[in-house]
Amino acid sequence: MPHDEIRESAPVLTFPRQAFVSLLVFAIVWETLSHLAPYLGIPPFAIPSFVRIAQSLADITPIDIAVTLARVIAALIASFVLGVSLAMAMYRSDSLDKYLHPMIRILMAVPVVSWILFAVLWFPGVEFRICFVLVVVCGPVFLVDTLDAMRGVPRELRTMMQSFRPTTPQYFVKLMLPAIVPTIFTSWKVNISLAIRVVTIAELVGAVTGIGHQLSVAQELFSVADVFAWTLVLVTLLFLLEAVVARVETRMLRWRT
């Protein structure tokens, strides 16, 4: 085969030097400010030292992390199933799309705070209230992303697939679903970040467990160190969840490398 050649690509791994430097600079500035606070007229609790934050971190209760994590994962799975199922139905039926599309646009425009207020007024159960808010915020993102991805499957591939005469389930399983997998992963990453932020706000109202509740307690106690510690936990949780998704993504999309 004189005209043929295999193309190769090699992954490049580099140490994130810039990110490391910027974090280090931030930590130094914070620590310096915490020591200079009394001389600058700033209340001592406002900028706690890292030693104080470490003490707060040591007092973190794992059960609250587990509860928040469970709420986020359960709500994301429910949002994903609901969003993707509706997207597939809307892709198949133009009239369903015409009926539901304006509703989805309106749902997406409603602020999170409004949803939380609605949930508090409508539902007495805290767990259902939090789940409702997360699903109503994250579900439409999954739906719109999935629908866009399905519509973005190249016409050439759709025609090729149809020319081999698949059944409807075969068409979805062998073409549509694999084709939208990259978008679904992006959607998961966006929604994980969204869910972590939304669950915290939802837990602020009425919940007696979870990171949002602990943040509320810290606020009542004027403990910036506790707020900082729980925020660090949230950020770490977000990064961990994103890393898990990224790992699954790398495995499932290895054909792209």
Partner: protein, 282 residues
């Protein structure tokens, strides 16, 4: 034996008074893509369809696949319509497109297996058949490679393996070799033709390259505007020494949108071996 020709052979293709009209989305104006086409293609014939851009070749291709319904007239393969009896032709019609149209998330082997999965063959048989075809097409070393790891020629070979893997009655190729370099295209054309003959499939190639049409087809069907049948040429009636003349005559037909007189004269010569072969199923 996987590469055995089908028993019984493919059914003939009958096109009668075929008309396809599209309505433009913006103006609502009717556009006649195919206007009352009559055409018969015998089993196992290799027919090249040539015509200028916009003459209705691709619409005819879509009608043959069954993705479009005729506005008027009939297109039948045997006693069935590829559109109305869409599912009947699963595994019986296969296509090779201009671009390879491989699924990027599937390896070469999995791409070649795709039509076999759709017809529900057992996994082991799917694998064996797909491997056989990939090997036949010189890709035995690259069965696990993803499309982006292969060159254009190799990807088109996978697409050909995918089409042949079901041993279809009808093979459709739409400008399948047009985008490849001349050497690779010639090599693939020969392979395609040899495999089509070996499989006993009827092959319809849509092309704008006259050299390709003359080199591959038993027959060359020349489409004018709205797929008007300008000429139906049995290539075997033209000795190799007259191929340059044939090329000129087709070129002139395409440019003037009416049959060149030189093509009519050739019709009066003796019956072509290719036509006889097609008629007898050999």
């Amino acid at each position: 034996m996987i590469l055995q020709a089908r028993k019984g052979g493919p059914p003939p293709i009958e096109v009668r008074g075929l008309r396809k009209v599209f309505r433009q989305a913006t103006s609502g104006q009717a556009v006649v893509a195919i206007d009352r086409l009559d055409l018969t293609i015998a089993p196992r014939e290799v027919v090249a369809i040539v015509g200028q851009t916009g003459c209705g070749k691709s619409t005819f291709f879509d009608l043959m696949i069954g993705l479009e319904a005729p506005s008027e007239g009939t297109l039948r393969i045997g006693d069935k319509s590829p559109h109305a009896n869409f599912d009947h032709f699963r595994g019986r019609i296969a296509t090779v497109f201009q671009q390879d149209r491989l699924l990027p998330w599937r390896s070469a082997l999995d791409n070649a297996k795709l039509p076999l999965e759709l017809i529900g063959l057992p996994e082991a048989e799917q694998r064996e058949r797909a491997l056989t075809w990939l090997k036949r097409l010189g890709l035995g070393q690259f069965t696990n490679a993803y499309p982006h790891e292969l060159s254009g020629g190799m990807r088109q070979r996978v697409a050909i393996a995918r089409a042949f893997s079901v041993q279809p009655d009808i093979l459709l190729a739409d400008e399948a070799f047009g985008h490849l370099d001349e050497v690779t295209a010639a090599e693939l054309r020969e392979t395609f033709l040899a495999l089509a003959r070996e499989c006993g499939s009827t092959a319809i190639l849509i092309t704008h390259q006259l050299e390709e049409a003359i080199g591959v087809g038993d027959r060359i069907v020349v489409f004018g505007k709205s797929a008007k049948l300008l000429a139906d040429i049995h290539v075997a009636r033209w000795p190799k020494s007259k191929h340059a003349l044939l090329r000129e005559a087709i070129q002139s037909t395409l440019q003037s949108n009416k049959p060149d007189p030189r093509l009519r004269r050739a019709k009066k010569t003796r019956a072509a071996p290719s036509a006889r072969r097609a008629a007898t199923g050999r």
